[in-house]
């Protein structure tokens, strides 16, 4: 059996079959339009089948093809296999070009049909619909951006405005035309231009990592409205990168001028309240001091009037003695005797001059008391000194005790002092005096019994100075303990205290980077402990956040940002 031949014949049959299958759609479409190609393909197929049958041994064929039935086909006419192959190749290339031609026509026809179906209006509708959607979305975005109270602007690397929204324009009072294309420092005060340029440059040059950790812009700033008025804004920024790799800065600003104004009003009223508290304690102090001064003044004045009386006594006695001398030298003995009687009688009644020395000594003592009091007042207020200076706390407490002496004496309170050896500390002595006066007067007021005792101790403990003021008064209820440093907390009757005393004490101690604490037992008394650091971290104690210039210290009597020196505030 010739397998070689069988395989070849099978291969050819398969190819012929493939060709017929390929031709099938064409047959369907064109009918018998091109018979010759079909019949040639059929002939190819039949021929290859014929070859196959002849290669297969007869006994393997189905009975119907046995006995030479299958070989009726005149094989000889078509002859050699080479010719067959050539014919196949020819039909193949003809077929190919036919298919190509047919396909081209089909595509063109389809294209024509397509263009006929998808006429212009439809395309336009589609395109405009898409554009409309985009427009609406953009309009929505723009409405949002323009109606937000948040001012938004985009600046390029050089700080030139590329975009500003409505709110941004409203905040600064410009129209978009007046801003876009201009440098953004148009909206800051002229003296701050360089600062802002530097900040902008720095921001634009930062690496991505640096930007992420950067929050210096995110805060309050004071900028300038078109009319020149300062406005307070809250700002934040983001950096975006364009397709060309250049950075842009998007800045978000919110106008908080109203808020800042309210805050300032609040600060002002707080200041006024503190002033009221000061005046209220001053009022109490003045009452005490007036009494303290008027008492010695009372006997000094009275003594001086008495001295005048004594002087008159002496003068009349002197006149009598002068008379006596004249009478002794030139007069009669009876006149002398009469004068002597007179002098004796006068000397018996006019005894005031014998008290002159005592009156003078008492008066001098009184004047010394007044002098002492006036100098403690001066020490207490420190009006003629620099307000921030090296301070001896023991000395301060001593002069404060003198100011409060009348309060203490009035209640018959015993004062125990245990002053340690202290280094001087840099502080605001007048303010610390206010602290001590407040603690001492509170202690006095807490004592309602007759065995009152106030102990004041100072000592150095590590890096701190610890001052303790304790009393054996009524004590503070546990539920009040955590409130006593709050402003307006008071247990006194209305009108008796502003409730600000201890809150001011707290602020002053805080300002010195110190701490104040209280322990108290109802019925036994209270201990207030003030701890002040010996070394201040800076030259001046904690000051307010200066960024917006509105958060400075609540005290009108100090400006910690300004350099402290002995040249400051000389007493008038």
């Amino acid at each position: 059996m010739n397998y070689e031949q069988i395989r070849a014949s099978l291969k050819k049959s398969r190819l012929a079959l493939d060709k017929l299958e390929l031709l099938e759609p064409l047959l369907e479409r064109h009918g018998a339009a091109d018979d010759s190609i079909i019949s040639e393909a059929l002939a190819d197929f039949t021929l290859s089948l014929h070859h196959l049958i002849r290669a297969v041994p007869e006994k393997l064929l189905p009975p119907i093809l046995q006995n030479g039935n299958a070989v009726h086909v005149n094989v000889e006419q078509i002859s050699a296999s080479t010719n067959f192959s050539n014919a196949l190749a020819q039909t193949e290339s003809r077929l190919q070009s036919f298919i190509q031609e047919t396909m081209r026509e089909e595509i063109e026809k389809a294209m024509r049909q397509l263009s006929a179906v998808t006429a212009r209006p439809a395309v336009d509708a589609f395109v405009s619909e898409t554009a409309d959607l985009m427009r609406r979305s953009e309009a929505r975005l723009r409405t949002i951006i323009d109606s937000t109270p948040l001012g938004i602007c985009i600046t390029n690397e050089n700080g030139i405005f590329e975009y500003v929204n409505d709110a941004y324009c409203r905040i600064y009072g410009y129209s978009p035309d007046e801003l876009v294309g201009e440098h953004f420092t148009k909206i800051v005060s002229p003296d701050k231009v360089q600062f802002w340029r530097d900040l902008h440059d720095k921001y634009m040059q930062m690496t991505g990592d640096e930007i992420r950790g950067y929050s210096d812009i995110r805060t309050e700033w004071i900028v300038r409205h078109k009319d020149g008025k300062p406005i307070t804004i809250l700002a934040d920024a983001a950096r975006i990168t364009r397709e060309d790799g250049k950075h842009q800065k998007v800045t978000f600003v919110m106008n908080i001028s109203e808020m800042a104004k309210l805050r300032e009003n609040l600060r002002q009223s707080e200041l006024q309240l503190m002033q009221a508290e000061k005046m209220s304690s001053l009022g109490q102090m003045v009452a005490g001091v007036a009494h303290e001064v008027n008492t010695p003044l009372g006997y000094v004045k009275s003594n001086l009037q008495l001295l005048l009386d004594a002087q008159k006594e002496l003068q009349s006695l002197l006149a009598l003695h002068q008379n006596l001398k004249d009478q002794i030298l030139h007069g009669s003995s009876t006149a002398v005797a009469k004068l002597l009687d007179e002098i004796e009688a006068k000397s018996e009644t006019a005894t005031l001059h014998t008290e002159v020395e005592k009156m003078c000594l008492n008066s001098l003592d009184g004047i010394e008391r007044i002098q002492d009091l006036v100098s403690s007042l001066k020490n207490f207020s420190r009006l003629d000194e620099a307000d921030f200076k090296q301070t001896d706390l023991n000395e301060n407490i001593e002069s404060t005790l003198k100011i409060a002496a009348h309060l203490i004496r009035e209640k018959g309170i015993k004062v125990e002092k245990d002053f340690g050896n202290l280094p001087e500390i840099a502080a605001y002595p007048a303010q610390l005096n206010q602290v001590f006066l407040n603690l001492i007067t509170n202690a006095v007021q807490a004592i309602t019994h007759e065995k009152g005792k106030i102990s004041i101790s100072t000592k150095k403990q590590g890096e701190h100075i610890v001052v303790k003021v304790s009393d054996n008064g009524t004590g503070i209820k546990p539920e009040h303990l955590n409130k006593i440093f709050e402003p307006f907390f008071t247990t006194k009757d209305i009108g008796k205290g502003t409730g600000l005393g201890l809150s001011i004490v707290y602020k002053i101690v805080e300002k010195h980077r110190g701490r104040i604490s209280v322990e108290s037992t109802v019925g036994k008394g209270s201990i207030f402990t003030v701890e002040l650091p010996i070394h201040q971290a800076d030259s001046a104690p904690v000051s307010g956040n200066e960024k917006t210039e509105t958060l400075a210290s609540p005290f009108s009597d100090d400006e910690p940002t300004k350099p402290k020196s002995a040249t400051k505030k000389r007493g008038k």
């Binding site: 009452a287 005490g288 007036a290 009494h291 303290e292 001064v293 008027n294 008492t295 010695p296 003044l297 009372g298 006997y299 000094v300 004045k301 009275s302 003594n303 009037q305 008495l306 005894t351 005031l352 008290e355 005592k358 009156m359 008492n362 003592d365 009184g366 009348h406 004496r409 009035e410 209640k411 018959g412 007759e450």
Partner: protein, 315 residues
């Protein structure tokens, strides 16, 4: 000046003050102490015509001390000699009726002596007239006991006046005046007025002196001052010159006002029954005050009073 025989007690916690006072009152019958408690002990065993006390003292305030002193020795005339007059103290001393005079340090020796001397005479008058008064009492009572007391309110605001009036018109005949001039005429016309309450809005120097003047002309009329100005000096003038009965600080509760007026009416009746309970009358008698001519026009009358007050040689 004759040194009175009456005993005087000085209380001041400052020894130097007492030493000076001893010299000022040398030859007088005086005792001094630095302790208010000691003074109260003395008052239990001795009788003093006049008590002079400091206000700010360790054991108790002068007002507190005088309150206790009054209980122990009601006939003593009480004087406060103080280094600083806080309004609250002045008002308290007026309203609790403890004080004849309020004197501030530093003082003038002669004025102080005059004042203390007058106080001594008032106290002596009390002692001398005691029996006489007791005898005369029945007669006076019979004469005046049933007379109805009328009240005069003086205020700029009509609304205030009608408010005051509505509180009392059921029980008393009430008069109202919006000016000092009107008040002066009403007082001259209605002799039954026993209580005058005057608002501080009218108490410019004219108003204050008017209240003083009322007491000069009608010693039995009890005066009440209603103030919102809180002026310690004014209050001192009102007590020292006019022996004002009460100093009310506005706003005050109705109950307090009602009680004050009732107290004033009772006081007025007491004056009528017993003229010698009236410090002002006693003072006038001691000072031998010249009778006031009631027919003077108001301004002349006030000027007269003002000059009298200014010419006073005592506090």
């Amino acid at each position: 000046m004759n040194t009175p025989k009456s005993k005087i007690l000085f209380v001041d916690d400052e020894p130097q003050i007492l030493e000076t006072l001893k010299l000022v009152f040398r030859g007088w019958n005086i005792k001094t102490t630095t302790s208010a408690k000691e003074a109260l002990k003395l008052l239990q065993s001795e009788t003093f015509s006049v008590i002079v006390s400091d206000q700010r003292m360790p054991e108790m305030t002068g007002v507190e001390f005088l309150k206790e002193a009054k209980a122990l020795s009601p006939k003593s005339v009480r004087i406060l000699l103080t280094g600083y007059s806080e309004l609250d103290n002045v008002i308290e001393s007026i309203n609790s009726g403890e004080v004849y005079r309020f004197i501030t340090k530093p003082w003038d020796n002669d004025k102080l002596k005059e004042t203390v001397e007058t106080a001594c005479k008032i106290a002596e008058l009390d002692a001398d007239l005691k029996e006489e008064v007791e005898k005369a009492k029945g007669k006076r009572d019979a004469k005046k006991v049933d007379s109805a007391v009328e009240i005069l309110f003086i205020d700029k605001l009509e609304s205030h006046l009608s408010g005051y009036k509505s509180l009392f018109e059921d029980a008393y005949t009430c008069h109202i005046a919006q000016t000092i001039e009107a008040a002066y005429e009403i007082l001259a016309e209605h002799k039954a007025i026993g209580v005058v309450a005057c608002d501080s809005t009218l108490a410019s120097s004219k108003g204050t002196i008017f209240l003083t003047a009322i007491r000069t002309m009608y010693p039995d009329v009890v005066t009440i001052f209603m103030s919102d100005s809180k002026d310690a000096q004014e209050a001192i003038r009102l007590i020292n010159d006019g022996q004002i009965f009460r100093y009310l600080v506005k706003p005050f509760p109705r109950d307090v006002f009602r009680q004050t007026i009732e107290d004033a009416i009772a006081k007025h009746k007491e004056y009528q029954h017993n003229p010698m309970s009236n410090l002002k009358r006693k003072e006038d008698e001691v000072m031998q005050a010249a009778p006031v001519k009631a027919q003077l026009p108001l301004n002349d009358f006030l000027a007269d009073i003002r000059s009298k007050v200014g010419a006073k040689k005592s506090y």
